[in-house]
Symmetry: C2
């Protein structure tokens, strides 16, 4: 196991441990009874790995760190609009336990002060107090990925001494913010604050927020993404009480602390942090918790407004079928035509996360091309994520290009843009699972548009095969006699890698592909051959074994000249052998050339 | 030009234009005299493109939007610590023009309220008022990318009626927050507020913040990145006065508004937004400005806490030299050895932005491998950016692997990790410009460690060449006579693509590479050959032209059997020809096989 990250966290831990300032919360005996120098740091990643240093498995009560989680539950239960009528989202310049509402709005200023948190608890749905608390406990447990337990003695102490919160409850009732029994809402709040967690639990809860509401360990969805954004927003501006501005300035992570000594911080999309150390500062925040978060943010560069570089273009590469031809073997006439019109195609390879800015740069470049593009392929295989807006922008771009007469296709094997794959027919709106198929389609589209007359017929006779063109009539008669006609079904394997040379194959109809498999069994298509092409000649001429499989991509008819008949012919008609050899050598050369060009594909 | 993004912004513009509520600022006649329904929206990208809709070229005074820019200048002039002694960074629940300080700290609560902004102006360095103002004006101009002008009549009106700000100035002086002449600080503040800008200017100023302090149009660095983060933090929590919490909740972009009717919003790393519409709400924010920002954030998914997906592993692919051999042709013995020990190498291909979380996942996986890895290559060619922390983490990983006896190399042609390229000698800490060189080094390292005895000597005689092994002594004597010995200097071209077959080449010492150039002139190395290998045989046997260049990678000695002598020999000694042919065919086969495997490289 690598110790690199452990060492980084360990350094922060060691430096912060020196700080023994601050006092334990002492308003109830249970909080004053903990070991004052306990200290733990956890960082949970969004793939569910948890780094732990120190006292990370010690239980303590969640206290105010419960507030964002109950607020999230209220938002899910009642909807954002209904909750907004009861609780504002403005930072408060006042202490967390102030018995007052915003004088202008007559609402609690935010859900992170007690008045707002008690209101949020009152909004949790359920027929009775016990059911509602059980929903809260079960929800927190889903964030933590394990069953969290209730600490009855802390609850009873809180309940006995919580006059200030009861005062807040009645104030809320008098302003009709709470419409039910205020004591019950306050009781529910006391219970939620009395749930036991460990530092490790809190880090996973924070990582669930970082992971867009999906618990990274259990993979369970606990909160929908739109609400995660809302809760993190409130944690950003209101999470650290009246030190919120300094917190954003210095740490820059949505966070929440509790008088139990815990603190959580969330870097959206990346990590959840939790620190436990029960000595508190004058704001009621863990002294070491604040210091460790500040150090981790600085050391690990976690500030959420940290920009390391300018956004880059979402376009990684762009090229035409001239720069990177398909592995479809073409006739010399087709190849010449493509050398001429191939520049009217363009393949754009996108990469990275396509959010607005990335999609904007792609749409601007692709849509801004002034030349007479006729075929556009957008390859999103290297795109990591497509935001909703980016998908809509690419749709609009496709419509725009289609209106201009451009055939447009996607390479999108993972279906990132939400379209299903379709076959090779048709001329626009195609979605391909691999680039090779898209390149073939690009070439076919251009050939169909510009030189349909040049194209090889779908099926030919042996005598019409180009490799035999130019033979004298009697040579042709002599030779065609020696060919066997064979038919293969779609997906049938014609030749296996390692087979001995077994003849010269002339394709009379259909398509075959030359394929190889890598050590993991993945199959790669080296070249596609169609009507009028040949295979097997190199192997036969050099008497080698096949280096690749040959498979039928469609129903295929071939004419085969077996090796023994070729040898006979070579012995009896050296002139015919020479004529054939010249053509085959030229074909082999062209084939190698295409292979080399495909090697160069960006 | 694509209309996709224009349409998106145009929709927001059209919907927002319907809103005619709000009142013009009327505390000075100039502000009340503007066309009340003027409306413009600009979005500037971090590559310097500006989308514009509506009245985007109309000048108006910057007013309070000046505050973050002067605060930034004060931070740059005096340092963060000195500024923090004078101005706090906490959101204020009070109106922007409150004549009061925080009672606890006796400082202005933040630089976005007037008291903080006047203090920031007082901290701008310069020998006298005019020089200091000129520094401010010139700085704003660098953000805007054009020379901004001073609106004297607005300034004179502000100055005439600005008693409240003068009161704030004297209050600041009485608390020693301002140590110089308070009237001068207030005057400087009035002047900075009276600089004319357009909506387009503001979008570029915002995009400069988004672009980490570099003006995306002029490419000039206006503010250092660490300060950008600070200023954006304060804009996040304090930029929209007492509606800051709701702003973060609903819009989620660091922003600043001014009573002139302007508003800017910044999405770090991505875009700068500016809206101009002079009707104001009760907070003094542009009514349409707020509405347009809210709509743009929602439509274009710009909330800064928006997470579209979980972070992914920074490792895009990993494989060994068995899965993906180098294009260095190996002797059969070396090939067999590599098939055996090649699994002890691993090439890790990283991608995306390497910030803490990405580097963490990479370090965890690479450092966590339990097998006996002996060679590790980290390929960062697809990495877009490396944060400082990520670079330090990869350094630590390299140290850790080296301690475990692992040879470690980087593929880093762009020098992202700050190391310079080095040659192929040595066994650890290598940095390569391309993957192929790193693969060759990986194989060489394993071969040197495990089977040094098998390795081909650096130089051999013709008679020792493996292709001639097994010939009878008289055959060998007959044949070696026909070879010419030739020497090539490093980088000398031995064969050009298109050359006619010119013989069989046996390499006696040094390395040659087979290369092809793409249509853009970029050169690709297909295969590297060394002592004991051959080339030219396929071309000669099939009487083709060369498909690739062959170049000397070092000083090279070859034995050449010219085509005519081969033909003579074939005619007079068919047995010798056959023996040679068998060996050449086997070699050609192996060579094609390596080419196919390199085709499959991930």
């Amino acid at each position: 196991m690598s110790t690199v990250v452990d060492a980084l966290i360990g350094n922060v831990f060691a430096a912060t441990r020196e700080n023994r300032s601050g006092e334990l919360a002492d308003y109830i005996p249970e909080l004053a009874a903990v070991a004052p120098d306990s200290f733990g740091i956890c960082i949970a990643t969004v793939d569910g790995y948890v780094y732990e240093v120190g006292d990370t498995r010690l239980p303590f009560t969640i206290q105010s760190i419960s507030k964002p989680f109950t607020y999230a539950l209220a938002l899910a239960d009642r909807g954002s609009a209904a909750v907004a009528e009861k609780i504002d989202v403005e930072p408060s310049g006042e202490p967390f336990n102030e018995i007052s509402l915003d004088p202008r709005t007559e609402r609690p200023r935010n859900p992170m002060i007690n008045a707002g948190a008690i209101t949020a608890a009152s909004l949790v749905a359920g027929p009775d107090l016990d059911t509602r608390f059980e929903r809260i406990r079960a929800t927190y447990s889903r964030y933590a990925g394990r069953d969290l337990t209730f600490n009855r003695s802390v609850y009873e102490s809180e309940s006995r001494t919580g006059h200030r919160n009861r005062a807040i409850g009645h104030m809320l009732r008098s302003f009709d913010i709470i419409t039910g029994d205020p004591d019950e809402a306050v009781d529910l709040y006391f219970r939620q604050c009395s749930i036991d967690v460990t530092c490790r639990d809190l880090s996973v809860m924070a990582a669930t927020m970082a992971n867009n509401g999906v618990n990274p360990v259990t993979r369970e969805t606990v909160l929908e993404p739109a609400l995660v954004e809302r809760v993190l927003s409130v944690m950003s501006t209101c999470g650290m009480y009246d030190a919120a501005g300094k917190w954003v300035y210095e740490v820059g992570l949505p966070a929440k602390s509790g008088v139990g000594g815990g603190i959580i911080a969330v870097l959206p999309g990346q990590i959840g942090i939790a620190v436990y150390s029960p000595r508190l500062d004058e704001h009621g925040n863990s002294v070491r918790g604040v210091e460790a978060c500040r150090a981790l943010s600085a050391e690990l560069e976690l500030h959420f407004l940290h920009v390391t570089r300018a956004a880059r273009s979402a376009i990684r590469a762009s090229y035409s079928v001239v720069d990177s031809p398909s592995r479809m073997r073409r006739t010399p006439a087709e190849r010449a035509a493509l050398d001429d019109v191939g520049k009217r195609s363009r393949i754009y390879e996108l990469h990275g996360d396509l959010l607005f800015a990335g999609a904007e740069s792609a749409v601007r470049e692709i849509g801004g091309v002034e030349t007479e593009l006729e075929v556009v392929v957008v390859d999103v295989r290297r795109v990591d994520d497509v935001g909703g807006i980016a998908g809509r922008m690419l749709d609009s771009l496709r419509d725009e290009l289609t209106r201009r007469g451009c055939a447009v296709a996607l390479v999108d094997p993972a279906g990132m843009l939400g379209y299903t794959h379709s076959d090779l027919s048709g001329t626009s709106g195609r979605v391909f699972a691999d680039l090779e198929a898209a390149l073939q389609w690009s070439e076919d589209t251009l050939l169909d548009r510009h030189c349909a007359a040049l194209r090889q017929p779908a099926a030919i006779d042996v005598a019409q095969h180009p490799v035999l063109a130019g033979l004298r009539p009697e040579q042709l008669r002599r030779l065609t006699r020696d060919f066997d006609i064979r038919t293969f079904a779609r997906d049938e394997q014609i030749i296996h890698r390692g087979d001995k040379a077994c003849g010269l194959f002339l394709i009379l109809s259909g398509r075959v592909s030359m394929r190889v498999a890598d050590s993991g069994g993945a199959v790669y298509r080296i070249m596609t051959l169609s009507t009028g092409m040949t295979f097997g000649e190199m192997t036969m001429l050099l008497d080698l074994r096949f280096l690749n499989d040959v498979c039928a991509d469609s129903e295929v008819t071939v004419a085969v000249l077996p090796a023994d008949r070729y040898a006979d012919m070579a012995a009896t008609e050296p002139g015919l052998k020479l004529a054939l050899l010249e053509r085959l050598a030229a074909g082999a050369y062209e084939q190698l050339d295409v292979m080399l060009r495909s090697l160069l594909r960006p």
